[in-house]
Structures are given as C-alpha cells and as structure tokens.
C-alpha cells in the first residue's frame, strides 16, 4: 500500500467533515485532535514504509526515496501547523479578537491541501502532476480568505488571481512539452526532449509557474500581501508547506523532465537565486508587519534553497531536502511565537514585540533561536543547512554567488536582529505580566526549537537524508 499515507490523510479529512456535523459546538475541540492524530498516523505509515519504492496506476503514481522525504516534510509541516492553529480555532485567545470559524472544514481543507502536496511528490505524469498541484493549491486560496474580513478576503482574491495566472503559465509550458514529445510521463519527456526555442519557451513558462510557488523574483509579489492578510497559522502553512510543495514541483520538473538540460540551466538559476535572495532581504528590512516581514524572509530563503540545483551536484538533493526540513522547523518555531503573540494580544507589528524577553523569557529565547537559525547563525541548523547549500554553489564554481548569498545572510541578520532588539534590548512595552501559553503551543514551540538546535549538531539527520537520496537524480541525467 504505497498510497497509505495519502489515503489516511484524505480519510481523516472526510472523517473530520462528517464528525463535525454531529458534534456539539463545545465538543468540537476534539476535531483538532483528530486531525493531528490522522497526520501522525500518516507520518507513522510514511516512516514505516520508508525504504520501499514502487509504482501504482501504470507509473502515474510512484514512490522513491526523495518522494518519501517530501512526504515527511509535508506531514511534519502540517502537523506543526495544525498544532499552532488549534488555539486560534478553539478560541483560546484574547477575547477582543475573533477566532476562526468552522473548525472541521478548516482542518479538512488543510488536510486536502496536504494530500495534494503528497500526491504532487508522487506524481509521475502531467495529469497527476497538475491535478495534485491544484489540489494542493486551491485549498490554500480558501484558507487564506478564511477570516472573511476585508484583508483576509483581499489577500485571498489576490492569491487566487495570481495563482491562476501562474498555473496557466505552468500548464501552457507543460502543454508545449507534451507537444514537443508527445509524452505525458515526466521521465519520458525528459528522455526525448531536445533543446529548441520552443523547449526553452516551455521551460521558461514552467519556471515561471514554479517560481510563483517558490516565490522567486520576480514572481514573488503575491507573497507579501497574501502572507499579511491570511490568518497567522495559514501564513505559517503557506510559508512552509506551499514552499515545500513548490520544491517538490521543481524537483519533478527540473530533474525528471529537464534533467538532461540541468547543467545548461545553472547560470539562469544562479541569477534567479541571487536576485531572489537580494530582493527578499532588501525588502524585508523596511517591513513593520511581522507576517509581511516573514514573507520577505521566506522569499530570501527560497533564493538560498535553489542553490542546491546548481552544478548538477549529487549533494544538491540531500542539501535541499535537509534545508527544507530545517526551514520548516525553524520557520514554524518562529510562527508559533507569532501566532501565539497575535492570539494573546492581537499584535503583529515588529515594534510591538518590545520587551518580550522580560515578560516571557523562554518564548523570547525560542524566537531568538528561530530567528538566528533563519539568519544562518551556527551552531543552529539554519547555518548547517545554508552551509551545505553554499557548498553546492561553490562546488559548481559560482563563488560570486556564494559571496552574494553570504552577504545576504548578513543583511538578513540585520532585520532578524531588529526583532531580537525589540524583544531583548528595548524596555518593556505594554505587558507587565507574563502572557499565558497553552500546553499544545508550548510543547510545539519546545520541540521545534530544540529540533532547530539539534539537527544541526547531530549529524544523523543529514547523513540519513544524504544516504538515501544522494544519487537519486543520476538516472534522470544519464
């Protein structure tokens, strides 16, 4: 049963919808538990089935080492996102602020998106690829607009319009690929396609579509607004799961479909990476809303992420997967704090974090660790992950790009330090007593923070990813 994890997720989603119908309002808190249990179960299945590989539906659905890892990443991201959503949905928040409505649907829709992402990783032909991609994306439009107020709806609308534009481009490109080769199977396309103007046009359109999901410059413009307008847990989910899905999509398209041309791709990708990280970082400097700020931070992280594609390096695959893992843990740790603070106080501006270290020192510490990890400060995993990616770029001979990336890390440190400064250096602001934190969130925060520290120091995680995936792409280029 190679599809067991996906089926578990979909089953849980339906279960949630059904149970939701029969539950009394005040008992609906159990829904969050069901959702998390479902994801945990799927996680268990995934880990349990890990070494297996195989195909279903005539090769349209397949699993291999990299697929497993992507699914793990999606499940992990969803699990943590669910954990940090629960407070907001169950109304454990400052009374002045509105809780999100319709828990059952919320969880179910999030799980559908998760299922879409998981299928995306397993998709092997254009149909499954496209459908799973849309399954992963459309629920996000809904979640973005979940709050139903002006801002949330506006961001939802922007997301849906631009998302549709992006998927049209992607699809147009895929159509051209199909037309060039007459194949629907990704690897078959990869084997038979030859460079021609039409191929490069198709490649460019596909890249545009992927870049939208990964928020690469100049396809990133939606991110800031959507992240800002969406409910905070959704922003968290967008920033990790959607990005991981984008990476999965990029793996599918770049390695399977255009693997033979990957070497030729290095220079444009390098430029794209350099522009993305620079633009993301520079724009992040001047942000005041923390969610918008995290959007730009996420944009720059995407710029680092795609360094792993350069130079056809066999270490690129594990490096990117590892970095994605690190990024998920780190970013969600930060978002746990953002969600918590917004739940408790309704505050989202960076200045409003002032003095947090005095009233809630442990939370501030967790936030600081997360931000330092995002900035790539050793010995946190963010550093290790970035280091491996930079190493790929360096190996490919893109020393200038390593320099750009490293200098960008410095710039990013500047704005991460802005928050740390508010928390640690500025005097106490409005709060004089410690804000309460729910056990779920506390545990989530503790686990993500510890993991952020630990997986950089303990080599096992990287070594495992590496051992399983290091030469995964060799079949696609030879």
């Amino acid at each position: 049963m190679l599809m067991l994890p996906e089926l578990t997720i979909i089953g849980t989603a339906f279960l949630l919808i059904i149970v939701d119908l029969f539950l009394h309002e005040h008992r609906k808190a159990v829904l969050g538990g069901i959702a998390m249990a479902g994801v945990l179960l799927a996680l268990g299945f995934t880990i349990g089935m890990m070494p297996q590989s195989g195909e279903l539906f005539g090769g349209r659905f397949a699993v291999d080492s990299v697929t497993w890892w992507f699914k793990l990443l999606f499940l992990l991201a969803s699990l943590i996102t669910l954990a940090i959503s629960i407070d907001l949905l169950d109304g454990r928040i400052d009374a002045k602020h509105m809780a999100l409505q319709a828990r059952g649907e919320y969880y179910a829709i999030m799980l559908f998106s998760l299922a879409g992402a998981m299928y995306l990783a397993s998709a092997r032909d254009l149909v499954t690829l496209y459908v799973s991609l849309e399954l992963a994306t459309i629920p996000l439009y809904i979640l973005t607009a979940w709050k139903r107020d002006t801002l949330s709806s506006e961001s939802g609308l922007k997301y849906v319009i631009l998302g549709a534009l992006a998927s049209a481009f992607l699809l147009y490109g895929l159509g051209l690929m199909f037309g060039l080769t007459g194949e629907m199977n990704l690897e078959a396309i990869g084997r038979s396609v030859t460079p021609s103007p039409t191929f490069w046009l198709a490649a460019a359109m596909v890249t545009a579509g992927i870049s939208f999901k990964l928020t690469l410059f100049p396809f990133h413009m939606w991110a800031a607004e959507v992240y800002q307008g969406a409910p905070a847990p959704v922003t968290a989910y967008l920033s990790v799961a959607s990005k991981a899905a984008g990476l999965a999509l990029m793996f599918q398209v770049f390695y399977r479909m255009m693997g033979h041309q990957l070497m030729a791709w290095a220079w444009p990708l390098a430029i794209l990476a350099a522009l993305t990280m620079t633009v993301g970082n520079l724009a992040a400097i001047v942000q005041n809303n923390i969610k918008r700020f995290m959007a730009f931070s996420a944009i720059s992280q995407a710029g680092y992420l795609i360094l792993g594609f350069l130079g056809n390096s066999d270490e690129g695959i594990p490096s990117m997967l590892y970095y994605m893992l690190v990024y998920i843990l780190t970013n969600l740790a930060a978002f746990a704090v953002i969600v918590w603070y917004s739940n408790q106080t309704g505050r989202e501006r960076i200045e409003e974090y002032r003095g947090l270290a005095r009233v809630n020192p442990l939370v501030a510490l967790a936030m600081m660790i997360a931000l330092f990890s995002l900035a790539g400060i050793p010995p946190l995993s963010g550093f290790v992950g970035k280091f491996f990616l930079f190493s790929i770029a360096s190996k490919a001979g893109f020393h200038w790009l390593v320099a750009v990336a490293a200098v960008n890390s410095t710039i990013s440190l500047y704005y991460y330090l802005r928050i740390i400064r508010q928390m640690y250096i500025e005097p106490v602001g409005q709060e004089t007593r410690a804000l309460s934190i729910s056990p779920v969130l506390a545990v989530t925060l503790a686990i993500t923070t510890l993991a952020t520290g630990a997986i950089g120091i303990i080599p096992m995680v990287y070594e495992t990813v590496s051992a399983q995936t290091i030469s995964w792409f060799l079949p696609f280029i030879h």
Partner: protein
C-alpha cells in the same frame, strides 16, 4: 573527553549552570561564573605546563617541518559525507591564545562584579561567547572553526545592546554586521578551498598539504585576509571597533578588544597564509601597506580623541595593525611578532578597558578633559593605567616590546619573495608610530591622572576594590612576566610557527630579489 574538549566546554557548562540559578540570586550567579572561569584558568595553567614540556622539546625537530604538529588532539567524525570532523587540538599559537583568553575572561568576570542588571543573561551570554572563542582557537577543522567563529561574534550584539552605553544599538548593529560581512568572505574562501583541494575534508592540516592553483590563491587569499582583517580591524574596515568598544560594557570591551580581535590575526595566519602561501606572496606587500596605514593612522587618530574608550579603541586599531603587519611580513619574526603582539595587546587592552570601566564606575565620565588628578585618589588604578600605557608604547620589560621588536625586525628583514625596499620603507613608516603612541598615551594619561584634581567630587572617590585589584593585578603581572621572561613564551610558540614559514618557502616559484 580530553583536555582540549574540557577547555572548550567548561565555559559553556558554566553558562548552563548559571542558567539553572534563578535570576534574583545574582550574587550566586557571579560566584558561579567566577568559579567556572577560575577553574578554567587553572585548567589552562595545567595544560600550559604539559604543553610547554612537549612543545619546547620539539623546536629543533620542527625547524624544517611544513606541517603543524598538534598536541592533545581529539577527533570525532561529524558530518561524514562532507568530511567534517570534530577535530580539536593545540599547537603553540592556539595555546598562547587560550592562555590569553582564559586570563581575560577571568579578569573580565572580576571586572563585571558590579553588573546587577540582568546578571544572569549577562553571564550566560559572556560565557557562551567565550566558548566560541576557545572553540576557534582549538579547532582544526575549518567547518568547526567557522562555526565557533560566529558563535564568538554574535552574542556581542546583545551584550552591547543590552548592557552598553551611548548609541549602543547602532554600535552593536554596526559591529555585528561588519564582522558578519567579514565572515561571509571567509565562508566564500573556505568553500572554494574545500572544493579545490579535492580531498573532501575540512581538516585544516590536510588541506594545507595541497598546492592550490595559483589562480585560486590569487583571489581566495584576499578574501580570507580581508574577512579576518575586518575582525582584526584592518584599515579601512576598522570603524566598528571605536563605536563598538565605546558602547560595550567593561567585560565585553575587554573580551572583544582583548580576544575577539585576535581571532582576526589568528585566522589570517592560520588559514589565509597557511593554506594559500602563493596568494600570500602575491598579496603580502599590499596588505603590508594597508596595515602600515593601520598602525600609523590608528595612532594619529588616537591623539585627538576625547573619550577614553575611543582613545583606547584607536590605539587598538594601531596595535592590531602590528598583528596583521607581522603576518603580512611573511617571515618567522613577523609571524612570531604577530602572535606575541596578539597576546600582549590582548592583555594590554583588556587591562585598559577594565580600568576604564573602573574609572567610569567612579567618575561617571569617560571624557578625558573632564578628568584630572585622579592618581591622587586612585593610585592603584593610575599605576595600572600607566603600566598599560607603557606596555602599549612598547616599553621594554613589558610584552609589547617583545612583540613590536619582532614585528619591526620581521618587516625589515623581509623575505625572499617580496620587494625588500618596499618592505623596509613600510617598516620605517610603521616605526614612527612608537613616537606617536608615546604622544597620545602620555597626553591622555597625564590629563586623566596627573595634575591637580579638577573636580571636587573626585576627592571622595575611592581606589580599587579587592576584586578590581585582583583583576587588574593579574593582567599587569602577565604583561610583566612575558616582557621580562619572553623566552618562555617564545619556546611555547616557536615550534608551531616554523611550519608556516616553511610552507611559504616551499611553495610555488621564487621571485628572486636578492
């Protein structure tokens, strides 16, 4: 766990112990910190004795060696796929820097005795920072080195930002960012070397067995040297130093100027020169020129400073110039001088900043013209200040002279691949600084300590307390011991310097000037 690992981990364990104590017991916290750093000092002393016995015997054997010999090595595989190891050990240079750091942090803990605001966080950050410093000095794996390097830099932001004075956020940010840009350059060079070596290892010693292509060395060497140079206050990347030092609290200034700036010189020698001898040959004269500017410019810059900390910071710029100057001289005496200068400047500035903190704690001003005649009311501090001043102007009998004479000789004696006339000329220009140093040291100190007491409040001030005496006394004694008995120190480091010189000599084609 071996000796070296204990030396690295001990401050961190102390920090963890401090974390366990409730914040309101700030007195207990500082005693724990003092105990931890005191234990570290004793452990360092013990290690030094063991090390000295081994290393001084190896001097004859090392004269022709091109490979650094390490002692007390510990090596554990870490990220196997990338060839990253936990690889720590000691050579003479590391040992001397460890001694320096251990002394400074002990004295710094004593000098922070009166930190009463957020004591716990202060000591946790301070001890974390020191862990990073020790890590840098003892790791011989580039990755590990870099990791510790950044750990050593970053807590500085909070230490200055929270406990600093004046425009502290600005200064802290500037310092952190400039140093990080430096480390960005190092990272680029490090990865380039790693991939060029083809050895698939970050082991510094093994990486240094490779002859890298000249084209690589040409651009990687300046990356390294500039990157480390930022931390070593290389002109024109030194401006973080005056602002940072001026804003930092006492112990942080001590540690920063005393130890952290040494990471720059240490890295420039250990990594830039050792890995890339041909690049070093090519760029030596250029950097020698820059460091000459450093030396002279820093000392002239110090003359007109009004704030004691700016004054000391510019003097540091000048003195750290000697370190990099020695490195850029690319010969045995230059390297040796650079190491001794690192040590002596570390102790000396540590002393200066400790004293400035103590004086400031009493007078509540650091503005030189606002003070006067303080020697009358605080003779101990005055004497220590003068000792520091005399050491900084290179008075024989203190470590500064040993260092500066080495550096000057190194610059003047030259080597067989850099233009001798240019080297000699630069050295002569650099020597001018000894006069300028005398001018600003004496002017500054005379205004502060001599003459009649200018402010009647000063009559009520008291001399150093016991902890302060202990702290400054330790530093003064160190300066004098190295100055009077330099042979111990030289025996300690000499064997480890030959490989640098020999690798330089063995590499590439010689450009004959003689």
């Amino acid at each position: 766990m071996g000796l070296v690992s204990w030396l690295i981990i001990l401050p961190f364990l102390t920090a963890m112990a401090v974390l366990m104590v409730p914040a309101k017991n700030w007195k207990a916290i500082r005693w724990i910190s003092l105990t931890g750093t005191g234990m570290h000092l004793m452990l360092t002393a013990f290690t030094t004795m063991k090390f000295w016995a081994l290393a001084s015997q190896d001097i004859p054997a090392m004269k022709t060696a091109t490979m650094t010999k390490l002692y007390f090595v510990e090596r554990v595989t870490w990220f196997q796929t990338l060839g990253i190891d936990y690889f720590v050990g000691l050579d003479g240079i590391s040992m001397s820097m460890v001694i320096l750091t251990s002394i400074i942090i002990f004295a710094g803990t004593l000098a922070s005795w009166n930190v009463e605001e957020r004591t716990k966080e202060f000591f946790v950050l301070l001890l974390t920072l020191v862990t990073g410093v020790f890590g840098v000095f003892m790791s011989f794996d580039l990755f590990l080195f870099f990791m510790f390097y950044e750990v050593a830099v970053l807590p500085m932001y909070l230490l200055i930002g929270i406990w600093g004075t004046g425009p502290k956020e600005y200064a802290a940010m500037k310092l952190t960012l400039m140093l990080m840009v430096g480390s960005a350059l190092i990272l680029v060079g490090m990865l380039a070397v790693y991939h060029a070596s083809g050895l698939h290892t970050f082991d510094l010693i093994r990486l240094a067995t490779v002859n890298y292509p000249a084209s690589l060395q040409t651009w990687v060497f300046p990356m390294f040297f500039l990157g480390f140079g930022v931390l070593g206050a290389l002109y024109p990347f030194h401006t973080w130093s005056p602002d940072g030092h001026a804003s930092a609290p006492t112990a942080v200034s001590m540690l920063h100027a005393g130890v952290l700036m040494k990471l720059g010189g240490y890295g420039a020698l250990r990594i830039a020169v050792y890995l890339l001898p041909e690049g070093a040959k090519e760029w030596g004269l250029f950097f020698m020129g820059l460091t000459t500017i450093n030396i002279v410019y820093g000392s002239f810059g110090a003359i007109m400073q009004k704030d004691l900390k700016y004054f000391t910071a510019y003097s540091s710029v000048s003195h750290c110039g000697f370190v990099l100057f020695g490195v850029a001289a690319m010969n045995l005496m230059g390297f040796k001088g650079a190491i001794i200068q690192m040590f002596s400047h570390g102790i000396m500035t540590g002393l200066f900043f400790a004293l400035i903190g103590m004086v400031y704690g009493r007078t509540h001003t650091r503005i030189i013209p606002d003070m006067g005649g303080l020697a009358k009311v605080m003779p101990w501090l005055a004497v220590c200040f003068y000792v520091g001043g005399m050491a900084s102007l290179g008075l024989p009998g203190f470590a500064g002279f040993v260092a500066e004479s080495h550096v000057f000789m190194g610059g003047f004696f030259g080597n067989n691949f850099m233009n001798p006339v240019a080297m000699k000329t630069l050295t002569i220009i650099a020597t001018v600084s000894i006069v300028v140093t005398a001018v600003y040291v004496l002017r500054g100190l005379a205004t502060v300590f001599q003459g009649p007491i200018t402010n009647h409040h000063f009559h009520e001030l008291t001399d150093a307390t016991l902890t302060e005496k202990l702290s400054t006394g330790l530093l003064v004694a160190t300066l004098a011991v190295v100055g009077f008995m330099p042979w111990y120190f030289i025996d300690l480091i000499e064997a480890s310097i030959f490989p640098f010189v020999n690798r330089l000599q063995a590499s590439g084609t010689m450009v004959a000037f003689h």
